[in-house]
Symmetry: C2
């Protein structure tokens, strides 16, 4: 099934308690695309500036990612600088320069407009709805959101939520959006706002899933090698949507498997900076860890 | 298999964001005993003051808990007062009055000395080792510990760790004890200090298990009705040890099932103050929720 992702493309500068990297490849749509590409062909839509090295495009293309929707415009690429706390779960944003992403107004080509599976990564609900307007044939529409939009575009976010099948968001965002500190109740309250299902991301503690008939929890895969958590949520979403696109269905059983694959991809992603760990692995490594994960959860 | 628990018996005063209770029945050994009693006969050893109402003893006895080791001495029973944050996971201790627990020096009867399964609940490592000295026939010795002992009796704690089969502790305690912020590494480091296995409790996020050959995670059962988390860790340990005592083995397969049962008992315990929720349920309710939990984790 064709999988479209629209979101940010960035240069990340990351400080962890022990290491530091400057201007490495990042952004929600990049982490998502790479993670999804293990499972299905991905079409990436995003914007970069003239400082964008062609090598990055080639890296994505080698993974089978369709970069026809990657637009280069005058200006600089989105830049983010963040610093992780010693627990590697909490982080502080030190700098954000939206640059060309600030006026990002995705216009899809006729081919991209026929996409069936659509993921709206980091972006304002207004932009996300503009994309939804352009994909009338989509059968699975899933979005991410952020505290920023909950704070400054709540009305638009509420409209957007009524137009999607699934929402992926952080625990703190779910609390902010619902005012409920109990994650189980918060998850259901978000679902009542529109999406058929909600995936609540808890960082190192895994994810919770909410649909009308199901509530469940999936722990994160316990990796001892957490080097850089940047992109964990986006690579989770990429693994999840990639698997759904591969299977061509989002029935409850497949969705659960998809959450598990997302968990596994994310567990690799955090083992190095940028895409560095994901670049080293392929489907066999994912399947091997998935087997260990299944064993872990069975008793 | 005979199951002995030695630990605190207390009157708890608890404030949550929405409710408040004063001087309700609590204490590590009480939550543990009640939780374990669904599975196996429990022998409780602890100390209370002259303010202890006989009804509390009767409540425990009705559950089949052997209270011969419950000593009443002149003075007041241990009192704890705490307040939970809105997230219901973090709490602040407002008052602690050790009272008669301060000089608690458990001397076991000849019958209790022959106990096979032993749980050392809240207590100093010195007291815990005094108990270990008295149970030479024990085949499974598991202890809990607290930040207080890590801070003020680290040497004694390190000695105690070399004498037990399993340790149950909180995530923050594991970080404090090892200086490692990564829970997977911290868990293995605690294990390297002596115990054959370590169970790391993460509150609403469940538990992690570490042995030489296994590392796994079990999420908490996602209950929307968290009323009072006091005793969650002790009721978890009670369910776990009770199930092991019932089965008469702590092989890897049984241990994993035991962690799941501990998770289920704890999920009931937090649904009301004191033992109030646990008093309403029996083995059938535990088995029913266990079935839902198994379904939740299978994919």
């Amino acid at each position: 099934m064709s999988l479209l992702v629209v979101g940010s493309i960035a240069f990340d500068s990351v400080e962890t308690p022990t290491q530091k990297r400057d201007d490495v490849l990042g952004g929600s749509a990049v982490f998502f695309s790479y993670a999804a590409s293990y499972f299905a062909p991905v079409r990436l839509v995003g914007v970069v500036g003239q400082d964008w090295p062609h090598e990055h495009t080639q890296l994505l293309q080698r993974q089978g990612i369709d970069t026809a929707g990657l637009t280069v415009v005058p200006g600089k690429t989105f830049r983010w600088r963040g610093k992780y706390q010693p627990n590697m779960n909490d982080r502080e944003t030190l700098e954000v320069h939206l640059n060309v992403f600030e006026t990002f107004d995705p216009v899809l080509s006729p081919e991209l407009r026929r996409s069936k599976y659509v993921f709206l990564a980091n972006g304002s609900p207004i932009t996300q709805m503009k994309v939804l307007d352009q994909v009338p044939e989509a059968t699975l529409r899933v979005a991410d959101t952020m505290d920023l939009w909950i704070n400054i575009q709540r009305d638009e976010l509420m409209q957007m939520l009524k137009r999607i099948d699934g929402l992926v968001l952080n625990d703190s965002e779910a609390k902010l959006l619902t005012g409920d500190e109990n994650l189980v109740r918060a998850g259901h309250k978000v679902r009542a706002m529109g999406p058929k299902f909600v995936v609540l991301k808890k960082g190192e503690h895994g994810v919770m899933f909410f649909s009308e008939k199901e509530t469940y929890v999936m722990p994160a895969y316990p990796t001892p090698d957490v080097v850089d958590p940047t992109g964990a949520g986006d690579s989770f979403a990429g693994g999840m949507m990639g698997y759904l696109a591969e299977k061509g269905t989002a029935d409850p059983k497949t969705l659960k498997e998809a959450l598990a694959y997302g968990t596994i991809v994310a567990s690799f992603n955090v083992e190095d900076f940028s895409l560095d760990r994901m670049k080293q692995i392929g489907r066999p490594e994912l399947e091997e860890r998935m087997l260990a994960y299944r064993r872990m959860l069975s008793f």
